[in-house]
Symmetry: C2
């Protein structure tokens, strides 16, 4: 029975901060979907003793351990050794596994390097999981009553191996039910949402003794509200409880909710535009393609997105989307002091209108601003960003934002603001003010 | 003395896989830079007991704990309570901290919600770290001989607090030296690099008993080689050892090395173009702005990047960068069977040449392919991507790739391939074949 799980990610590069661990998050989400509750993630260096002792500690605390990484052919790949240590077992060569590795190289017309032979080693009481996308087989073993799955680190190898070999073998507690519903919002801060939740009929929604549990997480301008049930109710009853809380939350902050669960601003925009047969274009300066890449990351985006521009220079803004040259400082039409300049309400509006026209799109999002660290002034410090949304059938909405943080943060916030403003337009809620917005009269 | 550190990230949303923890990586890299070695990362749910017991376990094992998250105003923010539990201490209200939180709200013309008062609470034997970018002050305390710093979760609050209050208080062991050098490569697989390292004069570079330690990490097409010294040598001697190994590595795989330490393909491209007074444009189909956004993520990119296009539809490719309409299937000039189609060598080459011309840039990167999951055929399955680099003074280099993985993976690999091919052009190494490349005769 797998009630609880721990997730280990393996590698010096993760622990010293050279590489971001994305596997643990993916594994956690898949486990929870299957009804197994992740209760801890641990990242460890390439240290056989540390890995072995963590296997030991966690196997006494949870029903399932999923480990990623450390199964490669090189001397810093120590997971199989540490697992055998924790089991008090020895490694043996798995003949079938060795044949598969040899076949993998043969199929690619490459000689198998002797080094790869170690990848066919497994604890004598363990079994091997085939890798159809690389040379590192996985390993499945038992540590006391805890099931351990060791998977290769590269996501494109780990993900199919998890789906094929781990998922079908999970044994969630049939008497326990786990259900999570997430509502994503923009326009309200985390404390404002918490204050409204306190006023819920029946008491504070976020009380830690309450069933289901309600929690919030802020990521830039998006605050996500999570309703989570874990207990012995039948699935239908758990879902009814979650539906009840969802209705309460929507009654308290409904104007800010834009999506559920795996949805993102980009995905709800693509879904909405597709349903209406409409299209969007992007004209980006300081976000430099981030908005376009977030929209096109959604499968099916080609139905709603056809053209985008990264107009990083003034000349490109003029040439590609017809922004009047007179709007730029030092131009023929503008004077050094009189023209609004590249980072202005006027230029943002002209970029959006020009992009929509050139692309013959129903909507266009435009962004111009100062991502920093350089380029700011007293009047327009780094973090000053104008975002505009133009549409065939509506006035152009332009807002000024004052973002803080480094270059990457300002770019992320700006992209989020662009998507949020388009969503407000699409959902008829332009009256909603966004976080960090400093002016721009919302049009209702 | 802070020799070793553990990093805790706090929050249900991380443990259940809703949110990706990026703080731990950032903290780890900063600690290592300062000479303190991170030895474990742990992510925990909003569970007061679990957090308290992890504080206890780690404080016995390391000299320093840095914890992020769980300091917000809501009922699921439990770090301060768990820390007090682990210390056997009680929480008191910090007057100065309360005044700062009140001032934060006052400065924004917003009323302080009662809920935020809890953020001024700290263990009676702890101290408060001011937050200049939000309402959550940090906490500093001692657990036995281990120093504990609790920082707020939002990166834009965490980062400045770490720089201001944690970094200056770190006490790395003056008798120990930690140095890391990373060399980033493209074009060679991890096993090929490991095989070459085995043939190093003096024996296998990756032997785990060797000083310094050498390790490798693969991330899409980039394999990074890490040389790490940790011991009692003087800094100059440690650096000499690292320089020796770096020279050995360069002699073994030098043709594949493109950058060091924090450098990325995008950053070396921006640096190189800037030094030469040259520019680049991008014309992206399946990557949808990802390459442009990676280039413009580098501060100073405006000197080398002026124009980019996201030409997601055939019409946009024709209209914006002059790809001949006859190249597309079903067009007036092409026949259903005879024209090469949107995903072809010919279209990639025309996109690159057209983009360079329209932008008047020295180079252009173009990508057209099938990111999936839909859109593939037997001849061109999802993952088929053509990447082209055109330049004023060189032939256009076009290569076909067969990537695997989901939509996001194919897009990431494609963007990486585009940057890698431009770098090969800039460094005169077009002869290097890239991973997953299936044709395209490299031009030397």
């Amino acid at each position: 029975m797998h009630r609880t799980a721990a997730i280990i990610s393996q590698g010096d590069e993760i622990v010293i901060g050279q590489t971001l661990d994305t596997n643990s998050r993916w594994i956690a989400a898949r486990l929870l979907d299957a009804g197994v509750v992740p209760v801890e993630h641990v990242s460890l260096p390439d240290d056989r003793k540390a890995i072995a002792s963590t296997f030991g500690r966690l196997s006494a605390a949870v029903d399932l351990i999923v480990c990623s990484g450390g199964l490669g052919p090189t001397a810093d790949d120590l997971t199989r050794f540490a697992l055998a240590d924790a089991m008090g077992d020895t490694l043996v060569q798995d003949g079938e596994s060795l044949r598969q590795i040899e076949a993998w190289f043969a199929a690619r017309g490459r000689p198998m390097i002797d080094l790869n032979r170690v990848q066919a080693m497994r604890p004598s009481r363990g079994t091997v999981l085939s890798n159809l996308h690389g040379t590192a087989p996985g390993i499945c073993a038992k540590l006391g009553s805890c099931d351990v799955y060791c998977l290769p680190g590269p996501p494109r190898e780990l993900m199919p191996m998890f789906e094929t070999f781990v998922l079908p073998r999970l044994e969630p507690d049939g008497r326990r039910t786990v259900r999570v519903r997430v509502l994503h919002t923009i326009g309200l801060g985390e404390s404002e949402i918490a204050a409204r939740f306190r006023s819920a009929p029946g008491g504070d929604l976020m009380d830690r003794e309450r069933v289901p549990l309600v929690g919030t997480t802020a990521s830039n301008s998006v605050v996500s509200c999570r309703i989570r049930y874990e207990g012995t109710l039948a699935p239908a009853e758990a879902e009814a409880l979650i539906a009840r809380d969802e209705a309460t939350i929507r009654s308290l902050i409904g104007e800010a909710v834009f999506g559920e669960d795996d949805e993102t601003l980009a995905s709800v925009i693509v879904k909405t535009l597709k349903a209406r047969g409409q299209t969007v274009a992007t004209v980006e300066s300081c976000t430099g393609g981030l908005i376009a890449s977030q929209i096109t990351d959604i499968a099916g985006a080609s139905d709603v997105f056809r053209s985008g521009w990264v107009t990083y220079s003034n000349e490109t803004k003029v040439r590609e989307v017809g922004v009047p040259a007179s709007l730029f400082k030092g131009s023929a039409g503008g004077t050094e002091s009189g023209a609004p300049g590249a980072v202005s309400r006027e230029v943002a509006a002209a970029m959006a209108a020009g992009g929509a026209g050139e692309a013959d799109a129903d909507f266009a999002i435009a962004v111009t601003g100062i991502a920093g660290p350089g380029g700011g002034s007293a009047e327009k410090p780094a973090g000053t960003v104008y975002v505009a949304v133009a549409g065939r059938a509506c006035e152009t909405d332009v807002r000024r934002f004052a973002f803080t943080g480094d270059r990457a943060a300002v770019r992320e916030w700006s992209a989020r603001a662009g998507l949020a403003m388009l969503w407000l337009t699409l959902s008829g809620r332009r009256g909603v003010r966004l976080l960090r917005q400093v002016d721009g009269a919302p049009v209702c």
